[in-house]
């Protein structure tokens, strides 16, 4: 049994990721902003010049979708391959295996934080602050729980079936269109809406827009927040369960 200092270990692993990634970059953390800003610019061009959209302040609108989506895909894909990628650790140190995928997700939260700051600055500029902002930490925390759950599921599957990561990558491509990133939820026909609401990523984008752009509570009239929490924790529990079942034989399979 590994009886160590969990917090110290997680902190060190996150710092390690962070340092490795930024040590050789002149712009450092600012690189985290480049991707969402470029995407925002391109999408804004398309939707204000080509397919003209009636949505006001389109850049802010699209950023509300892009930032959660970016975090979600990067963390999910990196987390999926994390166990196989850290074979050196898994085969040599008896640290609890759950640490590996979860730390990968948490490392990505550093970039998420930078991007959230960008989003909030833009929102303040166009819309101002409102009381509903108090919901933001909860809403983001639920997304992190959801991603951790998914990553526990797919990282353990990926040890046994190595093409799991390609399935995950394709799923992310599909999600870009099935999450209301570039269009508004109100355009979705009534009969499909419930599928959007049980998709935690779509529910998150929905809640964010309600809070930031409309100064409404995240719940709306359909208990979005409860659905988001329910699905997130269910996935997390399922992830832990599957991971726990699979981990005794990781050693033999990587």
């Amino acid at each position: 049994m590994w009886r160590g200092d969990y917090l110290y270990l997680i902190q060190n692993l996150i710092l390690k990721d962070f340092r490795i990634r930024y040590r050789n970059m002149s712009l450092g953390v600012l690189w985290s902003l480049v991707n969402p800003l470029v995407m925002m610019g391109v999408l804004t061009f398309v939707f204000t010049k080509v397919f003209i959209s009636a949505i006001p302040h389109f850049p802010v609108f699209v950023l509300c979708g892009m930032i959660p989506y970016n975090f979600f895909t990067v963390a999910w894909i990196a987390g999926t391959t994390s166990i196989v990628d850290s074979a050196g650790l898994v085969k040599r140190v008896p640290v609890p295996r759950e640490i590996v995928p979860i730390t990968t997700v948490l490392s990505n939260c550093v970039h998420l934080l930078v991007q959230i700051c960008l989003l909030l600055v833009m929102v303040v500029f166009f819309y101002g602050v409102n009381r509903q902002w108090f919901w933001l930490p909860l809403v983001w925390a639920l997304e992190i729980v959801f991603v951790c759950g998914l990553v526990l599921l797919t990282s353990s599957l990926n040890v046994y079936i190595r093409d799991t990561r390609y399935v995950v990558e394709s799923a992310n491509m599909v999600l870009f269109w099935l999450v209301p990133i570039i269009y508004d939820f109100s355009l979705v026909p009534e009969k499909y809406r419930r599928f959007y609401e049980i998709n935690p990523l779509a529910a998150l984008v929905l809640s964010l827009r309600r809070i930031l752009l409309h100064a409404e509570g995240p719940d709306g009239s359909t208990h979005t927040l409860w659905k988001l929490a329910g699905v997130s924790f269910t996935v997390f529990a399922a992830g832990l369960l599957l991971f726990h079942r699979m981990k005794p034989r990781f050693y033999e399979h990587i």
Partner: protein
């Protein structure tokens, strides 16, 4: 938690461990093929019915040819993998020198690597803060500690790793063929440190191909061959038996 002296430090009871021989990558099509036409896996028995117990304060060498199951035995002891049958019981805090340099990354500095490695070995924040200078001093790398690891030579890297590993104060020390660390004077220093462990009544389990080193470190030995325990007893007798067997084998193949 105090550990009663009655309980052995390490206890193996009828341990079997086998590995499935993989024929290639594990992709979806391989899994589907397996489901449709289940084939008996070709298994490889790394350990067959191993039983032994090591008391606290004993120091035991594991000898045998390559592929005898020595590393598997150590990995079972450190709980990296589980036995197929039988049980493995370990009482006390383990530090394994087979984890030398786990998590080391070339882009991090020596100091940063020390912290990551120490955290992986289970050392606490306080322990690292208190012992940091001691670790660096033992490695004799003070002048390079803030340089990235990629500028280190292999010997320097191993010195750093060894220093972190011995700074943990374990009840049971597992040493896997790492006594060839660094230059002669550093090797002597490592050996001295390991002897200190031994004299302070710690349990030790060592693997090495250098019988002379083992004779100096351990009082008992087990000889493994193709997963079976051939002998277990006082080191002089076991090493003698092993040497004789190897001698006979080379004579046979030569003749």
């Amino acid at each position: 938690m105090s550990i009663s002296d009655e309980r052995p430090a390490i206890l193996f009871q009828g341990v079997w461990k086998s590995f499935i021989r993989h024929t290639g990558q594990m992709l979806i099509r391989d899994r589907i093929r397996q489901l449709l036409r289940p084939k008996a896996h070709e298994t490889f028995h790394a350990l067959r019915e191993i039983s032994f117990s090591i008391n606290r304060g004993e120091s035991v060498a594991v000898i045998g040819p390559n592929g005898a199951g020595k590393s598997t035995l150590l990995n079972l002891t450190t709980n990296l993998c589980l036995p197929d049958q039988g049980s493995v019981e370990v009482n006390g805090r383990i530090a394994a020198l087979l984890e030398l340099g786990a998590g080391f990354h070339p882009d991090l500095t020596g100091a940063e690597n020390v912290r990551v490695n120490a955290a992986l070995l289970g050392l606490s924040r306080r322990h690292v803060r208190e012992k940091f200078h001691e670790i660096v001093a033992f490695s004799e790398l003070e002048r390079f500690i803030d340089e990235p690891l990629r500028t280190y030579s292999t010997g320097m890297m191993m010195r750093l790793a060894f220093s972190v590993a011995v700074s943990a104060d374990p009840d049971i020390l597992i040493i896997d063929e790492v006594l060839g660390v660094g230059d002669l004077s550093f090797q002597a220093k490592c050996l001295e440190r390991i002897m200190q462990f031994r004299h302070s009544g710690k349990t030790m389990l060592c693997v090495s191909h250098s019988n002379d080193t083992l004779m100096g470190l351990c009082d008992r030995a087990m000889w493994l061959d193709r997963g079976r325990m051939m002998e277990y007893g006082p080191i002089a007798r076991v090493v003698e038996a092993y040497k004789n067997a190897v001698g006979r084998q080379t004579m046979c193949s030569a003749g």
